[in-house]
């Protein structure tokens, strides 16, 4: 069977990726920020924002996506997001209540963006963790999908260097 020759730098696809990328990011961050007052939340918003990685891939190919986003750093930041969640949840214990307790519960009016106290902060941490985590996963899948010949023209081949056994060794 004849191999399909994908032209990654197709102008139309690139223009659409350019115009949809900000929309995806804004929608994602909107859903994360409004997790306490509207449907959605950290997880859903994080996945929406992480889909920006896919748009980058469609428009600019694997190399474009991998140069725009640092995989190693994404991987580390995911752990930071998780630690931030635990920290905000722990604030409940430090304040003399239970784990996950909302200690700023009387801040803001109901319906405001800032009205859920530490629950919002925990939600943002979840959003951050999912954004980085899913983004990293997508990049990993893309890097496995893309065949070697695409990289030949690109020069550098981004590897999964977060594993010690990778090319860094």
């Amino acid at each position: 069977m004849k191999k399909k020759n994908w032209k990654r730098d197709d102008l139309i696809v690139r223009c659409l990726a350019d115009s949809y990328l900000p929309i995806a990011l804004v929608l994602g961050f909107y859903v994360i920020l409004h997790g306490n007052i509207s449907p959605g939340g950290g997880f859903q918003g994080g996945v929406l924002a992480a889909s920006g990685v896919l748009l980058l891939y469609l428009g600019y190919g694997f190399r474009g996506a991998a140069t725009a986003v640092n995989m190693e750093r994404m991987h580390k930041l995911e752990a930071v997001g998780a630690l931030a969640y635990v920290f905000f949840a722990m604030l409940g214990i430090f304040a003399g209540y239970n784990f996950c307790r909302n200690i700023l519960w009387n801040s803001g009016n109901i319906g405001d963006l800032w009205s859920a106290g530490t629950i919002s902060l925990m939600n943002y941490s979840v959003g951050f963790k999912v954004l980085t985590g899913v983004g990293f996963l997508l990049l990993l899948i893309i890097s496995l999908l893309s065949t070697g010949e695409d990289h030949e023209h690109d020069g550098t081949i981004p590897t999964t260097e977060h594993e010690e056994g990778g090319a860094a060794k």
Partner: protein, 638 residues
């Protein structure tokens, strides 16, 4: 509340593992930092749980902790609870000890691997997931933690991804483990649809006596799901594949800790949530599954050529003991089962660690290739002997103490019910124990005794940092076997009482008197009677053994009669026609040691060989068949 500070400890013990896992990710390639963080969180978690022993085990408190202070409103639990009674703490302690020892062992053990960065992240995730399951008081939380645990375990099974066996085993594990998780999720959804709550205490107050067909189905699903996690009978081939491929310190966790969550789940589901354990049909089912797992896996273990696969089958065989004992639904049986659970974690952990030491030193666990390692690794051989004696139930080690209680419990059950079946169960238990000893003779003969192959002339004893955790486990094997009375008083007694006294669990979570108001019928389960009829006394047994040894020696000495020395031809060359030529290397291969046994059981073993085909589809069919059979059984008899 006198112990105000203690109520935070369970949640901190769980979160410690997760925080440690994420910090380890941040540490990246800095090995020292990673080891310090991992070691610290394991020790912190262990000490947090140890400090709970006094309030929970001795004073008999039940710690109920509502996440975010969302306490029950008008008798409905709306928040997520962490509820630690003696049973939860018992399993929690077992988990923390095994995790700490396996973790300290792996610091050195995994230095041989290239990509050891993600190891501790997954390791601590697995530990945190297991800890979350045993300490949680919420059905959906248990499911979430079950998934965390399963995926971490799958990742760790495939940890040596250069090995195609590891990748294949991980895939099988993923598929079959997902069947278990799906069953648990379906059961949880059905329970939520019927009870409108996920809190374990509230469900166990509402559910018993209100069984409708939906709930019977939910019970069958939850039972199969947790059974899959404990690798009970039709699920056992996956365990063997996974253990064979995973690093040894991970096998300790999968065998000693992961399977225990299945056992814990079965206890929670059948003694607490549905309280169906009082039904004779349910007892028969659990005892039957236990006996089949026990016997099938021990005969499979006799046929193994790989050290770790053999241990894996023994692991399921011992889980069979635990399930059998729990299925008896008597205080002695439950205590014996729990005792065997902690003993199994200790001795099987020790055996897996010695297998890891052999792998670390020689690079293989293939029984036919090894031999005579006792000369090169004397301490490892001694540790292996301790583990082998414990698992085969030789006094004074712990396996004997718990097996003794199980035999006694099955026998008492037989006397009580007057059924010949339970007497047969005792026989199966004893026969399995004998076969266990036989297969460990095989391992000892193939690995540590016999002739040392030339290629292992330069093998060295394992490093001290790997031996210390093994010695601690060996010491624990010895101590838990030597003081069964103390074990019963401080650990098993409170845990058994917690299993039988559901009303206290409910009242602790939902407020005093809740169980009486809501529960319609507690008739399913017999009244909690905690009678321990005669545990064993190590001293008198030791005396008995000394006397028997003396008697045997006397008889053999008395029977000695001189028949003259054997006279052979002067040099070995001419004795060829008498004893054959002197071979350069005559190691009895492990496959040949029990050839008579294999020959006589060839019909059964041929069937088992077809059943363990290694094809994922077959294993899935086995699992689905088990699910169908259990569901039909539950619908007929409940």
């Amino acid at each position: 509340m006198t112990y105000e500070i203690f109520k935070h400890f369970p949640v901190l013990a769980i979160m410690c593992y997760f925080v440690g896992a994420f910090i380890v990710t941040l540490a990246g390639k800095r090995r020292m930092l990673r080891n310090v963080v991992a070691g610290a969180v394991m020790l912190i978690s262990l000490s947090l749980l140890l400090s709970l022993v006094v309030p929970v085990m001795v004073d008999g408190q039940i710690i109920t902790y509502w996440m975010g202070n969302w306490e029950p409103v008008e008798g409905y639990a709306i928040g997520i609870a962490i509820e630690v009674d003696a049973l939860s703490l018992f399993f929690g302690l077992l988990v923390a000890i095994a995790v700490a020892l396996a973790g300290f062992y792996s610091f050195r053990y995994i230095t041989q691997d290239d990509a050891n960065g993600p190891f501790f992240t997954l390791f601590l995730m697995l530990s945190g997931g297991v800890m979350g399951i045993v300490l949680s008081g919420d059905l959906f939380n248990i499911y979430v933690m079950l998934e965390v645990m399963t995926f971490a375990a799958v990742g760790l099974t495939a940890f040596r991804s250069w090995n195609p066996n590891a990748r294949e085993a991980a895939f099988k594990y993923l598929v079959v483990g997902s069947i278990g998780s799906t069953c648990v999720l379906l059961g949880t959804a059905l329970v939520y649809a019927q009870c409108h709550t996920l809190n374990l205490a509230q469900i166990s107050a509402m559910l018993p006596g209100n069984m409708n067909p939906t709930m019977v189905f939910a019970f069958a699903m939850l039972f199969t799901g947790f059974g899959c996690k404990s690798f009970m009978f039709p699920f056992q081939p996956i365990a063997a594949d996974a253990h064979g491929a995973a690093p040894s310190s991970v096998s300790v966790l999968i065998s000693g800790v992961f399977t225990k969550t299945g056992v814990y789940g079965i206890i929670r589901v059948s003694y607490f949530l549905f309280r169906t354990m009082g039904l004779t049909s349910m007892q028969t089912l659990l005892v039957f599954i236990g006996c089949v797992s026990m016997f099938v896996c021990v005969t499979m273990a006799l046929n193994q050529h790989d050290f770790k696969r053999l241990l894996a089958f023994h692991s399921i065989s011992q889980i069979g003991y635990i399930l059998t004992a729990l299925g008896l639904c008597s205080a002695l049986g439950i205590a014996g089962g729990l005792y065997h659970a902690i003993n199994h974690t200790l001795f099987k952990g020790l055996l897996f660690l010695t297998a890891g030491a052999v792998l670390y030193a020689t690079g293989t666990t293939y029984l036919e290739k090894l031999g005579g390692l006792a000369r090169k690794m004397p301490q490892t051989a001694a540790l292996f002997m301790v583990g082998a004696f414990s698992i085969s139930g030789i006094p004074p080690f712990n396996g004997f103490a718990s097996k003794w209680m199980i035999y006694q419990a099955t026998y008492e059950k037989a006397a009580e019910t007057g059924s010949i079946g339970y007497a047969l169960v005792t026989v199966v238990c004893v026969v399995t124990s004998v076969l266990t000893l036989a297969s460990f003779i095989k391992v000892g003969q193939s690995v540590f005794f016999g002739q040392l192959p030339l290629e292992y002339e330069n093998v060295k004893e394992t490093p001290l940092s790997m031996r210390i955790p093994m010695w601690i486990m060996a010491a624990l094997c010895f101590l838990t076997g030597l003081f069964p009375d103390l074990m019963v008083e401080y650990l098993l007694g409170p845990a058994t009482a917690a299993v039988l006294d559901t009303a206290r669990y409910i009242d602790a979570a939902m407020g005093a008197g809740y169980a009486e108001i809501v529960a319609n019928s507690t008739a399913y389960l017999a009244e909690p009677v905690l009678v321990f009829a005669g545990t064993w006394d190590p001293v008198s047994w030791l005396l008995l053994f000394v006397i028997v040894m003396c008697a045997v020696t006397l008889v053999s000495l008395a029977g000695r009669r001189s028949r003259g020395a054997l006279t052979l031809a002067d040099d070995a060359k001419h004795a060829t026609f008498f004893g054959g030529e002197e071979a350069e290397f005559s190691h009895v291969a492990s496959g040949d040691l029990f050839w008579g046994f294999k020959h006589n059981l060839r019909g059964y073993l041929n069937f088992m060989s077809r059943a363990h085909s290694g094809i994922t589809n077959d294993y899935v069919v086995w699992g689905v068949c088990a699910m169908a059979v259990i569901t039909v059984y539950c619908f007929i008899f409940m």
